[in-house]
């Protein structure tokens, strides 16, 4: 389904490695199965030929890795960024989290990535191989006789269905064409929840958040969660909490986490992508984004380096907290 090929990426990286522009490449490496690609560092073209993969499962946003990798590596690091990843990249630059000079960004177009859970719903478990063939994903499983062919558009990840931008807001080299910010229906689900009664909303979230096993995957994948020490791991923070120890901790964790990234979250969707329990965590972030847009004017974190997050800004005419529900649908 991707318009760009693995070979094009390897060629581009090899050239930059060869001419000394970069010393290392941060890319997707093969995991145990075809779909569980893993962020991997490559030092040579040869290593890439052997281990680099690029397919419909390369969803991982690499921006976050730059914070730690740029501090330890010699020379420049090449990183492949999809349009949505570049917003996180800019946001991290805004927050001075790494040195721009140490990174070489190759912007790559993205046609939307696949959600393995949706694939499995069609193919069943026991995937032994998986490959892209044009617009199709071909899956071989241990239990089926023939390979299953799936239309890639039917298994798009939720965040790709509601892709907000095909535009790269940062790059050194761009492969493919310059894209545009696209109109998306990403707030529809938030609006749907807003139109529920409080009881319905409560039931919805009670059900979702009850599933949380507190694995921290959302936090660990989130490009906005790059704190040196997370407040939940810090005994001095007063909210330290490493496991789901009592009945309240979960939504405390998720509300605080959402608030910590509010105004900084680029809506990249990594939190929901990595959640093993499929909790729609991105909706919490989108709620903040939607509110910020409504209350204080449109703001897209990461759209430009150095922009001021609405929560660290104000105008003297801002909405009062008592006015936020005025005009919103009320339910008995």
């Amino acid at each position: 389904m991707q318009k760009i090929t693995r070979e094009q990426l390897i060629d581009q990286a090899s050239e930059l490695l060869a001419n000394g522009t970069v010393s290392t490449v941060l890319g997707w490496g093969a995991g145990e199965f075809g779909y569980d690609v893993t962020p991997t560092l490559f030092k040579t073209a040869e290593e890439m030929q052997n281990g680099f993969v690029f397919n419909d499962f390369c969803g991982a946003n690499f921006s976050k890795y730059l914070v730690s990798k740029t501090k330890t590596l010699e020379g420049k690091l090449l990183v492949f960024l999809k349009p949505c990843d570049t917003y996180s990249f800019n946001q991290l630059l805004t927050e001075h989290r790494f040195d721009r000079e140490k990174v070489y960004v190759v912007g790559i177009p993205c046609e939307g990535m696949a959600d393995i859970a949706k694939v499995k719903e069609i193919s069943g478990e026991g995937i032994s191989s998986i490959a892209s063939d044009g617009d199709r994903i071909v899956v071989t499983t241990l239990y089926a006789d023939a390979p299953v062919k799936i239309d890639a558009r039917n298994v798009l990840a939720e965040r790709c269905i509601h892709c907000k931008s095909k535009k790269h807001v940062a790059y050194d080299t761009l492969l493919g064409e310059e894209g545009d910010v696209v109109a998306s229906a990403r707030f529809d689900e938030v609006t749907r929840l807003e139109s529920m009664t409080p009881d319905e909303r409560f039931a919805f979230w009670q059900n979702e958040l009850s599933k949380c096993i507190r694995c921290n995957a959302c936090r660990d994948a989130c490009p906005a969660c790059t704190c040196e020490t997370c407040v939940f791991d810090n005994p001095k923070s007063g909210v330290e909490n490493k496991s789901p120890s009592n009945s309240f901790e979960e939504q405390m964790f998720h509300i605080i986490r959402a608030f910590h990234v509010a105004g900084r979250c680029t809506d990249c969707g990594e939190c929901a992508r990595v959640c093993p329990q499929n909790i729609p965590l991105h909706l919490l972030n989108r709620k903040f984004i939607k509110d910020i847009n409504t209350f204080y004017g449109e703001y897209q974190a990461g759209a430009e380096v150095g922009s001021r997050s609405p929560l660290t800004d104000y105008t003297t005419e801002d909405l009062e907290p008592s006015e936020i529900f005025v005009g919103r649908n009320e339910h008995a």
């Binding site: 927050e95 704190c227 040196e228 660290t312």
Partner: protein, 664 residues
């Protein structure tokens, strides 16, 4: 673990009437860390304080909780008691069981219960208190005054009078400001130059004062007590210390058609010029945009005629760096542009002028040597129309003008009208007004004199349109009292243009991290109680940069600002408030969120090297709070995503402990 002593005050029956104080002190006895608990009739009395001191010694207390009246009442008292007992003053917490308990609740059970909970919260907090020591910083005993008008002049003179060195930065070639352009001053009608120029001379002759004229402040760093300021002294192409101000160069300069700013363009000056006779410093300045020598390398006459050899065509801008303990902003005002008010035909007729132009027109040292004539044809005007409130008191949606009242126009217009009628009894003078505002000593009497003794015709109503036709100005106006539309043929129209802060103020405010209102007036630290201080410590306000003012008000504010500066400079060291923000370098991400919300610019960043567990080192950007600048609001603590920012005296874990104690 802290050893806490609890002291419950009865406040006579004020507390004891609704709260069972005995029960409170009993209940709190068993709280964690509490080793002593007692109650007494008046804890703030001598005996009560002695009781605390004794208990500290006998029970080796490390922390004190006083359950009493509001901390706003006696926190300072009990902190002193703690110090007297050998404790750090910040080891005291107050549980407010009077104003916020016994006085607002009637039920003894409920009141007692609440008092115990408030006591528990204070104990929970004090258990986490740490001794705090206020930071100290030295004070550079020199002041900077930005702006050399009457406000800056008065401030500088007063500070110098107290023995401190002062530098005055003025962007024009001379100090004096707007007041130097005025003719007479209301309500006493003494001549502006007669009262201002001696002060200008005083400034020049004061050995504590340095004048940087034709100069601008380009950078300000540092904080109260130690501001590092960069001043750009623009090249005037004349050696200031050599020039005698004889004026020979000016006479001979062939470029003589340059609009004269001092007379608001109503006559011309030369390319080399001295703004006016009493200029300070009285030295010539070459206008680089007009001088043929500087532009084309041709001429050089001024250099030839200068006996002192003061001309230096090669002179460059000079950068001066100096440290100051305090900064006074005195950047003043300007009349607004009349561009958007062309219904008054300002751009179409030379005989429609602003009030400041009228001042020059009637000034003996002005373009007409004080003769009131029409700028267009030099004829004597017979009918004069003054229009008040031009651009003042405009609603923002009108998209032109200012929302505020410019304050000075009513009085100077009365003055103009009165002086005109006095000197030229053959004139008819109309003043169109919306309201006449004359609060001030002898102000209303002055206005009434203009009407009653001098026959100035005050008309309640605005002018709607002015049409220049032939040699007349056809004025169409309202007379609201007569309910008529008036049509007058005037010879001269004077517009009382609104005043606005000088345009240099906004960039300066940014440099100073001083706040401004939407009109670009500097904001005072408190509108009533701290009117001459800006919210930024060490930055003071003088004159119209803070709001529209007349001369007496400006001078009193200038003096007030000076006294505040003197109060600061007499100190050798500044003791800060120890309840300031602190950044934990280990957990700080260096993300700048805290810096964005800090109203004082107290946070900066530095690259710090950290030793990692694997023995490598890592360089990270971390926040650093300047305790001398931080005022302790805590905005940064919430903006910080990693919780690295905390606030002394109101630490995250302390507030959380209070919450826990209350909600237990």
């Amino acid at each position: 673990m802290q050893r806490v002593g609890v002291f419950v005050c009865w406040c006579g029956s004020n507390i004891a009437g609704t709260v069972d104080v005995q029960a409170v002190s009993e209940a709190l006895k068993n709280e964690p860390g509490v080793v002593f608990s007692a109650n007494y009739q008046y804890m703030c009395s001598q005996a009560g304080q002695e009781m605390i001191k004794t208990a500290v010694k006998e029970h080796h207390l490390t922390g004190i909780v006083v359950c009493s009246c509001s901390p706003r009442m006696h926190e300072a008292t009990f902190r002193k008691t703690a110090v007297a007992a050998g404790l750090n003053p910040y080891m005291v917490e107050i549980a407010n069981i009077r104003e916020q308990c016994s006085w607002v609740h009637k039920d003894v059970t409920a009141g007692t219960e609440k008092a115990i909970i408030l006591g528990k919260a204070a104990i929970a907090k004090v258990n986490l208190n740490t001794p705090l020591t206020p930071g100290e910083s030295p004070v550079t005993k020199r002041a900077l005054v930005i702006g050399g008008g009457i406000a800056g002049i008065q401030t500088a003179l007063d500070i110098a009078d107290a023995g401190f060195p002062v530098d005055v930065v003025e962007k024009q070639p001379t100090i004096g400001g707007k007041m130097a352009q005025l003719d007479k001053t209301f309500p006493t009608l003494d001549c502006a130059a007669c009262i201002l120029t001696p002060k200008m001379v005083d400034v020049a002759q004061n050995d504590k004062i340095r004048i940087f004229s034709y100069s601008e402040v380009t950078d300000v760093r540092g904080f109260v007590g130690n501001f590092d300021v960069t001043i750009k002294k623009k090249a005037r192409f004349v050696k200031e210390d050599v020039c005698t101000g004889c004026g020979a160069c000016v006479e001979k300069c062939p470029m003589k058609k340059i609009p004269n700013e001092f007379n608001l363009g109503m006559d011309n000056r030369h390319a080399i010029y001295i703004p006016f006779a009493q200029a300070v410093p009285k030295v010539a300045t070459i206008d680089p945009d007009a001088c043929n020598m500087l532009k084309n390398g041709k001429c050089g006459i001024c250099s030839k005629v200068c006996a002192a050899g003061a001309i230096d065509y090669k002179q460059k801008d000079e950068i001066i760096e100096e440290t100051y303990g305090a900064i006074v902003v005195a950047t003043g005002f300007n009349p607004i542009s009349m561009e958007k008010f062309d219904e008054y035909a300002y751009s179409q007729s030379k005989d429609v002028i602003t009030s400041l132009e009228f001042e020059r027109l009637t000034n003996a040292a002005g373009p007409t040597a004080g003769m009131l004539v029409r700028p267009s044809d030099g004829k004597h005007p017979h009918t004069l129309v003054f229009v008040q409130c031009v651009g003042s008191r405009c609603e923002s949606c009108a998209e032109k003008g200012k929302e505020y009242c410019s304050k000075i126009c009513c009085m100077y217009t009365a003055k103009h009208a009165m002086l005109t009628r006095d000197k030229y009894p053959d004139t008819e003078v109309y003043v169109f007004y919306v309201d006449v505002r004359t609060p001030g000593k002898n102000f209303d009497e002055f206005y009434r004199r203009a009407v009653e003794e001098y026959g100035v015709k005050y008309v309640k109503g605005m002018v709607g349109k002015i049409v220049p036709e032939g040699d007349k100005l056809k004025v169409q106006a309202s007379d609201l009292i007569a309910n008529k539309q008036l049509h007058l043929d005037a010879d001269l129209v004077v517009l009382a243009a609104a005043i606005e802060p000088d345009h240099s103020a906004r960039p300066l405010a940014t440099m100073l991290t001083a706040s401004m209102d939407t009109n670009d007036f500097f904001t005072e630290a408190h509108p009533k109680l701290r009117p001459v201080e800006s919210p930024t410590a060490g930055v003071f306000l003088s004159g119209t940069c803070q709001g529209p003012k007349d001369i007496p008000e400006t001078v009193s504010q200038a003096g007030a600002a000076a006294s505040k500066v003197i109060g600061l400079l007499v100190k050798d060291k500044l003791t800060g408030n120890p309840c300031v923000a602190i950044a934990n370098e280990l957990t700080c991400n260096g993300c700048s969120s805290c810096e964005r919300v800090c109203p004082y610019g107290a946070i900066s960043y530095l690259d710090k090297e950290f030793r990692m567990p694997d023995r490598t080192t890592k360089i990270r950007r971390v926040a650093s709070v300047n305790p001398a600048v931080c005022q302790g609001c805590g905005a940064c603590t919430v903006a910080c995503p990693s919780g690295a920012m905390d606030l002394n005296g109101f630490m995250n874990n302390q507030i959380m402990a209070e919450v826990d104690a209350i909600c237990k």
